[in-house]
């Protein structure tokens, strides 16, 4: 991994952001698609905009590309205000969700198209096209037309075409949406490799949270036209800011209750889901009686038939469903009050000694530092 990626420029206050989205608002008639959004993206970042459909992530991307006019606010690229610059004059390229290959041109001509618009000499165009074809491993397909390519190949042509001009910033709109799972995973790694090799800033829009987690340096979770949380994948997963983010990214068990106070272990929650005392090490600013939630990821719940020796952070229930996933199994455990929690256990042994099966009475336990305390 290159140095620029391991560093975290967003933590360094002396670092200048590469893209500055300043209080941008976008309205379509009465509908507000983007609501006073602020975001800084740094050079060489692989930034994901993640959110449910209709949250405004694609609109934001299209404003960066110049296809949507900003209603209010401005966007700076490398310190320069680009809000009023039409798309064909921006040093930004985009990879479209539909790939948008030119159907009447060969792969080669598709890739060369952007370079020809810059009036580069023929020899340089040729060399760069070859470079790009090599990068996406499509040298043998140079003379093919788009309708003779598979989905994965079209995707790579689209990527090569958008990278050919060596843009300062590459926007990717659901770039892997049309690929099947295996190809998607493989392509995610290719994308990361290419991004590191070419040192281009990537902004990607996706609704696939796994994809966002895999590829990104940071993720911006969006909802109804604004950013809910901007953080690294680990932070988003391990320290979500509220229930919505916790729920949107990965699976999560949420215990509801009221704040009881702090003790030597940490925050104490009185929950209707558990008879035992529930702790989390995280300290919060709340007063007794305040509503709060504990978010615990399924893989952080220990599931066993044996009663744990501790007396805190324990839930009792019955296994209602088991989803065998090969490397791990997901257990759906119904608590005494009827709620269902999910617990994930890695299948480390081929024949399970402590075999768990349907209708087994089990204990769920977790470490105090495994739960996230959420106030909203």
């Amino acid at each position: 991994m290159s140095e620029t990626l391991t560093a975290s420029p967003w933590l360094d206050s002396s670092e200048k952001p590469y893209i500055q989205i300043e209080n941008v608002t976008k309205k379509f008639g009465d509908f507000t698609a983007i609501d006073n959004l602020k975001l800084d993206i740094y050079k060489n970042e692989f930034f994901s905009l993640l959110g449910p459909s209709g949250c405004g992530k694609t609109t934001l991307l299209r404003m960066l590309a110049g296809f949507e006019k900003i209603t209010d606010g401005r966007i700076l690229l490398d310190g320069e205000d680009i809000s009023e610059i039409p798309p064909h004059l921006r040093p930004i390229n985009m990879m479209f969700q539909s790939y948008a290959l030119f159907p009447h041109m060969t792969v080669e001509k598709n890739i060369a198209f952007g370079l020809k618009q810059d009036n580069l000499p023929e020899s340089e165009i040729k060399q760069r096209v070859e470079e790009m074809l090599e990068l996406v491993e499509l040298t043998d397909f140079a003379k093919r037309k788009p309708n003779q390519l598979s989905g994965g190949q079209s995707q790579r042509v689209a990527l090569a075409r958008s990278l050919a001009k060596r843009p300062k910033l590459l926007l990717l709109d659901e770039p892997l949406g049309a690929l099947d799972k295996r190809l998607r995973e493989q392509t995610q790694f290719e994308l990361m490799d290419i991004q590191e090799k070419l040192e281009v800033t990537f902004v990607i829009v996706t609704h696939d949270q796994e994809e966002a987690m895999t590829v990104s340096s940071r993720i911006g979770v969006m909802d109804s036209g604004n950013l809910v949380q901007v953080a690294t994948p680990t932070e988003i997963y391990e320290a979500p800011i509220n229930k919505d983010v916790a729920d949107f990214i990965g699976d999560v068990n949420i215990l509801q209750g009221v704040y009881k106070g702090q003790n030597e272990v940490g925050t104490q929650l009185q929950s209707e889901d558990s008879n035992s005392i529930v702790f989390a090490t995280q300290e919060v600013d709340a007063s007794p009686g305040d509503k709060m939630w504990f978010a615990i990821r399924p893989e952080k719940l220990e599931i066993s038939k044996k009663k744990p020796s501790d007396d805190h952070n324990i839930l009792r229930g019955k296994i209602e469903d088991i989803a065998y996933g090969g490397s791990f199994s997901t257990y759906h455990v119904r608590l005494q009050n009827g709620r269902i929690l999910k617990a994930i256990r890695a299948n480390r042994e081929r024949t399970e000694e402590h075999h768990l099966t349907w209708e087994d009475e089990v204990y769920l336990q977790w470490a105090p530092h495994s739960a996230v305390v959420l106030l909203s």
Partner: protein
């Protein structure tokens, strides 16, 4: 392949006979040796030869082709622009009115179009001739091109245009280099359609033509009033051939384009 039942075969035969027997008879009798239209006197192509001697018909044919060529070309340009506006500019103010006005000539009786254009030319004191016929033909055939283009554009992926802009191509160059080549088959079939429409129009041409601008359908019509001759059959056969060719090429181009879309 599904087998046709007896009823279906009968329905097809009767239907097609109803449509095509008159035309087949016309073509057949254009190769008749005899001067009498209803009596078969053996095979001959002499009437086609005779046709070549008839200056009146040759003049009319030349006028028709000139009018059809110019009017279909202009109608294609205007119709393409109209079709693009209808599909590319979203719901602009007055869109319904605009589309209604574009498509009105399709449902308007030809007599009305002919009469109203005639009145306009009279009011503007324009001398009627090849020019006025051409203008009138542009007016009524433009809407057909607009329909063809609009239906093509409904399956056109707008992000292709955006991709070209994104790669640094100006909007105008994008149209020339990307949009136009992709919709070219639709443009050509629109042109062929308006060409054939102009070729066989009688009503509107009758209203808007003047001395020296008699089109072929008008010429045939006036000749028929003096009695049907094998010569008319011959010239009509040529006309039928041209129109068929135009319609068939338009549909072949249209189908090939559809296949391309499916493949993409």
């Amino acid at each position: 392949m599904k087998k046709f039942g007896n009823f279906n075969i009968a329905a097809l035969v009767i239907g097609f006979s109803f449509l095509y027997i008159p035309i087949i008879l016309l073509i057949l009798f254009s190769f008749n040796e005899s001067r009498l239209v209803t009596v078969w006197g053996g095979f001959s192509t002499k009437w086609y030869g005779e046709l070549m001697q008839n200056q009146g018909i040759k003049d009319a044919a030349w006028v028709t082709i000139k009018v059809a060529f110019v009017s279909s070309t202009v109608a294609t340009i205007l119709g393409t622009i109209a079709g693009l506006v209808m599909t590319r500019f979203g719901n602009f103010r007055g869109r319904t009115l605009f589309s209604g006005m574009i498509y009105a000539p399709m449902v308007m009786p030809e007599v009305i179009i002919g009469l109203s254009t005639l009145l306009m030319f009279v009011a503007l004191a324009v001398d009627r001739g090849v020019f006025t016929v051409t203008l009138a033909h542009i007016t009524f055939s433009m809407c057909y091109v607009a329909v063809v283009i609009q239906s093509r554009m409904s399956s056109y992926d707008d992000s292709i245009t955006e991709a070209a802009l994104d790669l640094g191509c100006t909007p105008f160059r994008t149209f020339i280099l990307i949009t136009l080549p992709i919709i070219l088959p639709a443009v050509i079939s629109g042109w062929l359609l308006s060409f054939t429409l102009s070729l066989d129009d009688l009503v509107i041409a009758s209203f808007t033509s003047g001395p020296g601008s008699t089109t072929l359908p008008m010429k045939i019509y006036s000749m028929v009033r003096l009695g049907v001759t094998p010569e008319i059959n011959a010239v009509s056969t040529i006309l039928v051939g041209l129109v068929t060719l135009g319609v068939i090429s338009a549909s072949i181009i249209g189908r090939r384009q559809k296949q391309n879309i499916i493949k993409v």
